[in-house]
Subunit: 354 residues, 2 copies
């Protein structure tokens, strides 16, 4: 399969993830507006992928207006598409810094190369995360059972340029011949687990079972889970983790059952300027994602069905904060580190100024 | 509104809860088979209501066959409709004991009266639970905000003969003029929160907001919850609580945030013969409840949409176990008691032999 975002004859393509798992539709991102729309409409999602699409969006914008004002305006527009993921800001800043001192007529081409480099580095980074995570997880297998991993949301290939973060570990384990079984949280409200993680695992023929978000605690109590691993959208300087809403509940259950809770995160998701989880703005999305559920109707059409009574209000926070004390380790491209101020300080993403 | 189960000219009626919140359809339960089907298909659900329907089912069965063998067979058939709720067994046993020593031609009428008494006692019991719970909850209100209560699943009027258990507290608070706001967990996979609890609260004009099951932990961390109260399906002799899957995760979050976690339970849900939560059989329901979600399509029809890829397996445990150490108190018709062996021992449901 191609990467999640790829070039063909200098044109940029990705999947429309809102149609998965039922339809794998390729869409072209033909300009900055397409990139911004793809992020805000969640045609693309996942912190690393959002960063890559944002970087290309800025490169597109510079083709149309390569002035300082144009750069600044495009950066602001793209940054506003999703507020929580720090990769987006990181990727936009990286492109902006790379072109800032250049003559205007060199900026667009340089930005394009920087976006491509961000993509290549994401792939290498994720492979490294996968290797480090697999080394931690493999010894947790008990007896003849497969290694039983629970994950929340989608931190797979299609959340990144390739391989994924949390699911890079599963991929690496499978490639190494370790029998593995994944408990897939469906991850309401958008069901990225049921729709995307299950789809990816099925494509790769990796054993998995979809469960409702409510079931993970029971499975841990019943001894059916060996470890939890999730991706993340932002790590604060103190090790607090912002990830898809519901992550915190699984971290609590892991702790209550003596199970390791790992967070797979490229160093680019660490926000050294954010002192703690309480300082992270939680994106509030449309209540309609709560009151309605999208899926495939018996006639094969994709529809949204309403599950709440008319007039009952809903609230839809997209992320929650898992305090560092519940995180066994962060697994970065440089290896695992404790989720603490001292351990995180000094980590640098690939490509960042030292 | 009438009770959730009611007699009209000696005929028995209830709501088809599988059509709520979109259609409130009255169905007649015209015999033992109707009662068994209503329970197993979840046209009726909620531990106390299941007990009431089971009792009437046994009365119906005795009209058709009032022999000892008929009684025993009907009891076994009804008991098998839902395995987790202990009220069902309790109600069936109560009817069976009441008729066992009677001449055969008196059994059916006596069973019918016993079923009616179970219903009347449930109403009185729930009113009492509501009063006790409201007295505990009202002082938790902070400042000018309404008292903010989080609940899981549906422990409301339509889970019982009337008033509910956990929601009896909300009803009692509202009746006493205490401003109250309810966070309603949608409660996948069957969405009894989004569909039933929200519907009940809306019918009563009580402020509420529907959230996905994943969101409660975040809201607690953000200081937006004052207390959690849930119903339950069975309490073991040591105080462990079996309730709708996901309850355990909310109990963990309440503990992590220093919030009280109350379980509203008629004494009839306490199973003195069950030593602990691990001895409670967890009902496994159809994977289709996970892979599909029912709701109202844009054309107004009620349909189920598929949310998982074809061929991805799913697991659907219906309940989980909340260990007694996470339960602040059980709130019974006799008042609140600690969730512990010593406190529970000796509690007797209304109508039970001493």
């Amino acid at each position: 399969m191609p990467r999640t975002i790829w070039l063909d004859d200098e044109r940029l393509f990705t999947w429309d993830q809102t149609r998965l798992p039922f339809e794998a539709i390729v869409i072209e991102l033909a300009g900055a507006a397409d990139c911004a729309h793809a992020i805000s409409s969640m045609q693309v999602r996942g912190a690393p992928l959002i960063g890559a699409v944002g970087a290309y969006g800025l490169a597109f914008a510079l083709r149309e207006d390569d002035s300082d004002a144009g750069l600044s305006a495009a950066r602001a527009t793209l940054l506003a598409t999703r507020p929580t993921a720090v990769n987006l800001r990181w990727a936009l800043d990286r492109v902006a810094v790379a072109v800032a001192e250049l003559p205007r007529d060199e900026r667009a081409a340089r930005a394009w190369r920087e976006a491509a480099a961000i993509c290549d580095e994401d792939v290498a980074c994720n492979l490294s995360i996968g290797r480090h995570a697999a080394a931690l997880l493999a010894p947790l297998r008990r007896g003849v059972d497969p290694l039983r991993i629970l994950t929340h949301c989608n931190a797979g290939r299609i959340a990144t340029v390739d391989h994924g973060t949390a699911l890079a570990a599963v991929e690496a384990l499978a490639d190494a011949g370790v029998p593995v079984h994944v408990w897939v949280d469906e991850t309401r409200p958008r069901n990225q687990g049921a729709g995307l993680t299950a789809w990816e695992l099925r494509e790769r023929s990796i054993a998995h079972t979809v469960i409702v978000d409510n079931a993970g605690g029971l499975l841990m109590r019943q001894g059916l889970v060996d470890a939890v691993i999730v991706g993340c959208d932002r790590v604060a300087a103190n090790g607090d983790v912002a990830n898809k809403v519901g992550t915190y509940l699984k971290a609590l259950a892991a702790r209550d059952n003596g199970l390791p809770f790992y967070v797979a995160c490229p160093v680019s998701t660490i926000d050294a300027q954010c002192r703690g989880g309480d300082a992270i703005a939680i994106e509030q999305r449309s209540p309609r994602e709560v009151t309605h559920v999208g899926g495939r109707a018996p006639d094969g059409s994709l529809v949204e069905v309403q599950i709440t009574p008319d007039g009952s209000p809903a609230l839809n926070p997209a992320f929650d904060i898992t305090p560092a004390r519940l995180v066994t380790a962060l697994i970065t491209e440089h290896g695992s580190v404790a989720a603490s101020l001292d351990a995180i300080r000094g980590l640098r993403p690939a490509g960042a100024p030292a």
